[in-house]
């Protein structure tokens, strides 16, 4: 497959691994403790497991799987709100596929569907708008979810609905923004991170400027990374070189997609439709200031939170969950007391077991082969 296979070339991978080993040999820190590099984005976590990258890296490198899976970090209370909206008889509730299985305090959207709610899986918010046009007698609600990657598409859908005068369409907005969360992680006292792989898809929209504070203020290197396995290895190599050379900069490995300025048209649409919330609740991390967005007052008629009465109850994470510690790199997924027992992909307790991009679910399914086989 053209433009894909080139980025999965085994010989280039082997060459990069040799380079990575050389660089690691020049880092003093690596002699005392592992170098912890966090990949922020769930898409990276998925690739790392899909291609077995952890097993290829030298043992001095630990990859910490970050909070960048929007499905995982969705709090239970918000899922309950989704279910409450979906169960209204006039509503057609539309959602991306992987949000169907996220457990609420009582049920998931999949269970609500089985019990009779009209929940439909769509592949784009524009599909939801098309459903609204086709079903003028029903209320079509789209479950808007994700970081800056998906924000422009939902913003443009709202603008399109406004232009067409579609009145039976609304968004249940759960969009979140990654930067405040990275900051919250960097501010935590038990932090042990030495560098970051920056989220490629988010950066395609936002550009690289929002990460500058990580390099300047927190003195940690960040490399915006693509999602193919060679992208990830090259980005790790770039982070390591910064560590070896005592640099802390924002670099862009994914320049074939990401420009430093980002996508102006997408940012304009997002800015027109959304504004920051004062705070938003993250599963596993708690409430984080300015980490979510909502529809601006001018588009309030498209806001499902305003159109429908929702329970809006905060449900605390189970006290036994150690998702927060896993997210910050304090413990590994399999070191959590609940991992693989009470918390498994069938009945996830914690955020990270929810979606295949979550660190724990990825560990459970694709496994750190050596670790689960008891080799390391």
């Amino acid at each position: 497959m053209k433009y894909v296979d080139e980025f999965r070339d085994r010989e280039k991978a082997e060459a990069l691994i040799r380079e990575i080993n050389t660089v690691v040999a020049g880092i003093d820190l690596a002699r005392h403790r592992p170098i912890n590099i966090m990949e922020v984005c769930g898409g990276h976590t998925h690739s790392i497991f899909r291609y077995g990258l952890e097993g290829m890296l030298p043992k001095e490198i630990e990859l910490i799987h970050g909070p960048g899976c929007p499905v995982c970090v969705l709090p239970m209370g918000r899922v309950d709100d989704c279910v409450a909206i979906a169960e209204r008889p006039e509503v057609i509730f539309t959602t991306f596929g992987d949000a169907m299985r996220v457990p609420g305090s009582k049920k998931s959207l999949m269970q609500a569907k089985a019990a009779g709610a009209d929940v439909r899986m769509v592949y784009s918010p524009m599909d939801a708008l098309a459903l609204a046009r086709k079903n003028p007698g029903r209320e079509v609600v789209f479950f808007a979810l994700g970081f800056e990657t998906t924000m422009p598409s939902t913003a443009l859908t709202v603008l399109q609905a406004e232009a067409e005068g579609v009145r039976n369409f609304s968004l249940f907005c759960n969009h979140i923004t990654i930067v405040p969360t990275i900051k919250a992680i960097l501010d935590s006292p038990d932090l042990q991170l030495d560098g970051f792989l920056g989220p490629g898809h988010v950066s395609m929209v936002t550009g690289t400027a929002p990460y500058q504070f990580i390099a300047r203020h927190y003195r940690r290197p960040l490399v915006v990374a693509g999602f193919e396995p060679l992208d990830i290895l090259q980005s790790i190599w770039m982070v390591l070189k910064q560590i070896r050379d005592g640099r802390a900069e924002v670099e862009n490995q994914y320049a074939r997609i990401v420009s430093d300025a980002g996508n102006a048209a997408a940012l304009a649409a997002v800015g027109r439709v959304y504004e920051l919330r004062e705070f938003f609740e993250w599963r596993g991390l708690g409430s984080i200031d300015h980490s979510g967005v909502r529809l601006r007052a001018a588009y309030a008629h498209f806001d499902a939170e305003k159109r429908f009465a929702i329970p809006n109850v905060t449900i605390a994470d189970p006290s036994s969950c150690q998702c927060g510690e896993v997210l910050k790199g304090v413990i590994k997924p399999w070191q959590c007391k609940m991992f693989g027992g009470a918390c498994n992909p069938e009945t996830p307790l914690g955020a990270l077991m929810v979606s295949s991009e979550g660190a724990c679910a990825a560990h459970y399914q694709y496994g750190g082969v050596q670790r689960r086989m008891g080799v390391a």
Binding site: R10, H46, R50, Y51, L53, G97, D127
Partner: protein, 356 residues
């Protein structure tokens, strides 16, 4: 007196004069008889079905000529859309059950067919499905010898559900089972993986993705017969339907208490299916197949088995994808094309497209 002729005189078959099925066709009266006669009996036409008794009567001696063990299986078929590139629910309902018999080493012989029809279905659609079943059965050398028809109110089923049950006979000497794999065995497949799953997802049309991928839906009994003729010592065979080859490999590893290692570079996947999976974030190892089998053979039999498979049109792209090892029992892993290694576990639920 002359001996009594076993086959009764065929009665006059009813004719269906309407364009759509109604609940009246499930009522047990003339309308139902007309539907069964005109759509099913006329299409399936064979001596064992013709008497239209409540049961087909099979000659035991005739069965015993094929072997020493009876194989017996059943499967329900529901698919949306009913007609898709490469097949339809009728072809699927025959091939699926024939394949389930064949992978056990049985010669498939007779099928039953029960259909549940949603009222409002066009009679022409039903005829097309019945014709497809009849043609597929004929080509596979099996006869549909008994059946049942029900009509349910709109909404009580999705257009049509078909259940086929099949019997076949296993010849002496064949011992094929999920518990028989041994370390060192070679794992083979008869061609490219995931075509059916990808074709069905595309054909549903709700992804606005177009792909030339066709379902691999096929009767594999001929291919399997050729394989067993060449290698009677085949250890394991299973068709990799729902859950894909990942599921079958996990079942094999668990039942035989062995580990299985497959190579991503050796795993044949159509470029179109790969592209489709890339876009939706799906894993082709978990996509359904309707014409692919996973086979385990002793290492010394691998070359002969591969040659036999490749000599058949349905095994042209057959290849060895991995091997059975003495590693952790039940563990399936894949050496990725990138040089890494990952676990291939059972899927928890169904595969869902990823958000971004």
């Amino acid at each position: 007196m002359m001996s009594i002729v076993a086959r009764p005189k065929p009665r006059n078959l009813g004719k269906l004069m309407v364009s759509h099925v109604t609940v009246a066709h499930g009522g047990g009266g003339k309308a139902m008889k007309d539907l069964i006669d005109d759509v099913f009996v006329s299409a399936f036409d064979n001596d064992l079905l013709a008497p239209l008794e409540d049961q087909a009567r099979l000659d035991l001696a005739a069965l015993a000529r094929h072997g020493d063990r009876l194989a017996f299986t059943t499967d329900g078929y529901v698919v949306d859309p009913l007609f898709f590139p490469g097949g339809d629910i009728g072809k699927l309902a025959i091939c699926g059950t024939v394949n389930d018999l064949a992978v056990g080493g049985a010669v498939p012989l007779h099928l039953s067919c029960a259909v549940v029809i949603e009222e409002g279905m066009a009679v022409e659609t039903l005829r097309a499905i019945a014709r497809s079943m009849a043609a597929t059965a004929r080509a596979a050398g099996v006869s549909i010898v008994t059946g049942d028809t029900k009509v349910v109110p709109r909404g009580a089923c999705d257009k049509i559900f078909i259940t086929t049950t099949g019997i076949g006979v296993i010849r002496p000497g064949l011992e094929i089972g999920a518990d028989r794999a041994r370390p060192g065995d070679i794992v083979l497949v008869n061609g490219r993986l995931g075509d059916h799953g990808a074709a069905i997802l595309c054909a549903r049309g709700d992804m606005a993705l177009q792909s030339p991928v066709e379902s691999d839906c096929a009767d594999l009994s001929g291919l399997i017969a050729a394989l067993l003729a060449a290698v009677p010592g085949v250890r394991f065979m299973r068709d990799a339907t729902r859950g894909g080859i990942a599921t079958v490999l996990n079942e094999l590893a668990a039942a035989s208490r062995v580990a299985i290692e497959i190579d991503e570079t050796a795993t044949p996947i159509d470029e179109g299916v790969r592209g489709f999976c890339e876009i939706l974030g799906l894993d082709p190892l978990y996509l359904a197949n309707e014409g692919k089998i996973v086979i385990a053979v002793a290492p010394e039999d691998a070359a002969v088995a591969l040659a036999a498979l490749r000599a058949h049109p349905l095994g042209r792209d057959a290849c060895a994808i991995g091997k059975v090892t003495a590693g952790e029992a039940g563990r399936v892993s894949m050496n990725t094309l990138f040089g890494g290694r990952r676990i291939v576990d059972m899927l928890v639920g169904e595969q869902l497209p990823r958000i971004c």
